[in-house]
């Protein structure tokens, strides 16, 4: 039997004071799909950096096709045929598909003029796109592509480099269900062609669907391997956190109230031709599902006043209100935990304390000057309440993990007087443990009489957390589902515009 394509033996990486990886060994053969799981901070990204040649292991051996590679550099990694498809895509929006795929190694023509050979580029890109079965061409500007399509461009780029191993890091975090299915079938296709895949994901369903084998990292160590027939949710979760995760759904103690937020005939700037009617009751968690681009985030932005609605009425507890900007929304207790935490939710360089007080500074400045002691007291209280894991509330938000960053965003709103909170993709990129804490918190808020709208593309989350689900399709609400009616199938039917069978 030939040596496997890639072997890692006893890889250890230590930073001053920290061991990121210790004694990790595993191998991957051609055409094999390995699911790599582990909570954030388990050492997955360090391992990937070592495979990319970006970080040198402190100890250990890397073998490619059975040959030892003592100094595994970026160039060597590329030559070995290792390619990455990152969570955050590295594409140039101002260029077209073909240019992106051949960026930095464009076929040349015109002699000393060094012109880009457009025809040649296109000729070489077209078959790659065909292989992936996408419906855009080499000339399509990347700016016009959806996130899932851009991911396909990244994969095409990897293929153009004759990749033998593609490492996918949370590839589906921004994808809808159908797009995820499509990606999984592309993975099956690549596997059939002999390309190896390392699939890193928090979404255990997908891992289960595509992986031939699952390896799990915890605290820098490889804690277990699951063979194809052993890949089950409970087994994977047990490996990741070392214990069984309780069921995520927490049933409400009380029935929701009748009052809450009512939207009538609301038209957003993204879909001016469609109106949204929606009632969100205090005490419930209403899931808002739908495909990417179905208008969920536009709706959230309209309610919060970022892009004020073009028409329609918004009423809170029966009182009509006007929300022309976020200040108005915040004054009414309507808060938004945005989709992109790093860009819209936090000022990353500010300490936790200043992030928490930011939206409510006037409360901390009774006499025009900010009272730091009040800020500190609030920050410490929220740190304890939400379990923000940080040495100090003076730590800049940038150095926190995704889960803790999200907790800081929530702490900002919880330190005020929430009536309605909109969570846009509340647990994207957050590890399993922190996810459960955030679900628990949402439930507590609902019990305290807050109306909660949870936008999510994670089907497990929508079904596992919501009391009721509204599904959006092309700018309007396609239908509501009660908890008893919830299923992936029912949600998908509405999301793609099919009326459910009566």
């Amino acid at each position: 039997m030939p040596a496997p394509f890639l072997e890692l033996l006893d890889i250890t990486k230590t930073y001053p004071g920290v061991t990121a990886l210790s004694g990790v060994s595993f191998a991957i053969g051609a055409g094999e799909v390995v699911g790599l799981i582990g909570e954030n901070g388990a050492g997955k990204s360090t391992l990937m950096k070592i495979l990319g040649g970006v970080v040198e292991p402190t100890r250990g051996t890397i073998r490619v096709d059975g040959n030892e590679r003592p100094a595994f550099t970026v160039t060597e990694s590329m030559q070995a045929g290792i390619a990455f498809v990152h969570q955050e895509l590295n594409l140039f929006e101002n260029l077209d598909v073909a240019a992106n795929i051949f960026i930095g190694r464009e076929p040349r023509s015109g002699g000393f003029l060094n012109l880009v050979d457009q025809a040649e580029t296109r000729r070489r890109v077209a078959p790659l796109l065909q292989r992936l079965g996408v419906d855009f061409g080499p000339d399509t500007p990347v700016a016009e592509l959806a996130i899932a399509e851009r991911q396909m461009v990244e994969i095409a780029k990897a293929l153009s480099l004759n990749a033998r191993l593609i490492i996918m890091d949370e590839p589906t975090s921004s994808l809808t269900l159908s797009e995820t299915d499509r990606l999984l079938s592309v993975i099956a296709e690549l596997k059939a062609q002999g390309v190896a895949i390392v699939y890193i994901s928090h979404r255990l369903n997908e891992v289960k669907q595509c992986a031939d084998r699952v390896v799990c990292l915890r605290d820098g160590k490889l804690v277990g391997t699951l063979a194809k027939d052993e890949i089950e949710h409970p087994a994977m979760i047990r490996l990741m956190i070392g214990r069984d995760l309780k069921s995520v759904y927490i049933p409400p103690k009380h029935a929701p109230k009748e009052s809450g937020l009512t939207l009538e005939g609301l038209r957003t700037t993204a879909f001016p031709d469609f109106a949204v009617d929606l009632t969100l009751r205090r005490g419930e968690i209403l899931g808002l599902a739908g495909l990417i681009g179905s208008g969920r985030t536009s709706l959230a932005r309209a309610i919060f006043g970022i892009d004020p609605p073009l028409a329609g009425t918004v009423a809170l507890d029966g009182q009509p209100i006007t929300v022309a900007n976020p200040q108005d929304a915040i004054a009414r207790g309507i808060y938004l935990a945005p989709e992109d935490r790093k860009r819209s939710g936090l000022i990353l360089e500010f300490p936790i304390r200043e992030n928490i007080s930011l939206a409510d500074l006037k409360e901390y400045a009774p006499s025009w000057l900010i009272r730091r002691d009040k800020e500190l007291a609030t920050a410490e209280r929220q740190k304890v309440r939400l379990g923000i894991r940080t040495p100090s509330v003076e730590t800049p938000a940038i150095s926190l993990s995704g889960g803790n960053q999200q907790k800081v965003v929530l702490a900002k709103w919880l330190s005020m007087r929430p009536q309605v909170i909109i969570f846009d993709e509340p647990t994207r990129g957050i590890d399993v443990g922190a996810k459960a804490e955030i679900y628990q918190l949402m439930r507590e808020l609902a019990e305290a009489g807050v109306a909660i709208l949870m936008i999510s593309s994670d089907m497990e989350e929508v079904i596992g957390v919501s009391d009721r689900v509204a599904v959006m399709h092309e700018g309007s609400i396609a239908g509501f589902l009660e908890r008893s009616q919830l299923s992936e199938h029912a949600i998908m039917e509405l999301a793609i515009g099919h009326r459910p069978a009566a």
Binding site: F304, N325, L346, F350, L358
Partner: protein, 327 residues
């Protein structure tokens, strides 16, 4: 005081010490008073510039504002013989209006600050020259004793420009580092979108920075007109915005926005003025003036960068150690 500012303070002291060693006259009362006067003149508008830079913007038209406000100010005072308190208010008000216009163009029409204020630079300079038909205007034979004393006199031996600067610096220190507006300014400069999502009226915050800068420029225009005793519309204040930008950058303001402190800007101004002074005191050819200034700014910024990187590494290590200990 921030660590960054402390480094700058050390640089100021070192250069001061070297200059004193080479020529003890540097620390003579006369020289200190002269320097205090110039620090006051250049410091007031550098603080305004710093605020604009903190929003991520830039204000290039300050020098031209000095010329335009300067000629109008002298003209109203000398030839229209208006009472001086009114003229002073007009001058500061004009600066405020210019700042408001810039703020409006930047926040409402979404023009780039560089473009807006570059146009301001050209327009104000042009109007000033046209208004005076390029002639130099002076205070002539008028009697402005009170105002003259206020603008260029001394109390307890301290030049009034310097006193004004100290007052402005203290007020702006409180505004930037202690007030809600200051926090909002830093937040908007660092991440405008997140600031907006936190309910901050980002437009008002940014426009306010330009208006404060305009008002401080108007105030400086008065002091400067009295310092030179005459205003030549084509040359008056030319390139002075660059002194302000240099002081702000030396003082730790990032042109990307969100960073900067008042003590830093104050120290930056002091350092720049010391450099100009030492060129004269040490008998360095005056033509080398700008080269000396440029070299020291570059060295300062490089040193800061190096220190910052070292500090970042140290902080990261400490934090990692803490996280590990906590886990």
């Amino acid at each position: 005081m921030h660590k960054k500012d402390l480094g700058l303070l050390v640089l100021v002291l070192v250069i001061g010490a070297i200059t004193t060693a080479l020529n003890p006259v540097f620390l003579s009362p006369v020289n200190l008073v002269n320097m205090a006067n110039l620090i006051g003149l250049f410091g007031i508008f550098s603080i305004g510039q710093g605020l604009v830079i903190i929003t991520g913007g830039i204000e290039l038209s300050v020098g031209s504002m000095f010329a335009l406000i300067g000629v109008i100010f002298v003209d109203l005072l000398v030839n229209f013989a208006l009472p001086w308190p009114i003229v002073v208010l007009v001058a500061i008000g004009l600066g405020l209006v210019f700042g408001a216009v810039h703020g409006f163009l930047v926040t409402r029409l979404h023009l780039q600050p560089f473009v807006v204020t570059l146009c301001g630079l050209l327009i104000y300079r042009g109007i000033a020259r046209w208004y005076m038909a390029d002639a130099t205007i002076g205070f002539g034979y008028g009697d402005f004793d009170t105002l003259f004393w206020l603008a260029s006199g001394r109390s307890f031996g301290i030049p009034h420009t310097f006193i004004a600067f100290v007052i402005v610096a203290i007020v702006m220190y409180v505004v930037l580092h202690k007030s809600v507006f200051g926090r909002h300014l830093l937040a908007v400069g660092k991440n405008e979108e997140a600031a907006r999502f936190s309910g901050i009226n980002t437009r008002v915050v940014i426009a306010s920075a330009y208006m404060i800068n305009g008002a401080l420029a108007g105030l400086t225009a008065l002091f400067l007109a009295f310092y030179t005793s005459s205003v030549s519309p084509s040359a008056h204040g030319s390139f002075y915005e660059l002194y302000a930008i240099a002081a702000a950058v030396l003082g730790g303001c990032s042109l990307r926005g969100g960073e900067g402190s008042i003590p830093g800007i104050v120290l930056g101004t002091i350092l720049l003025q010391i450099l100009q002074n030492l060129v004269n005191l040490l008998g360095i050819p005056t033509s080398l003036n700008f080269a000396v200034m440029g070299t020291v700014i570059l060295a300062g910024v490089l040193a800061d960068q190096a220190l910052q990187r070292r500090r970042a590494i140290k902080v990261a290590e400490q934090q990692r150690a803490k996280v590990v200990a906590a886990a």
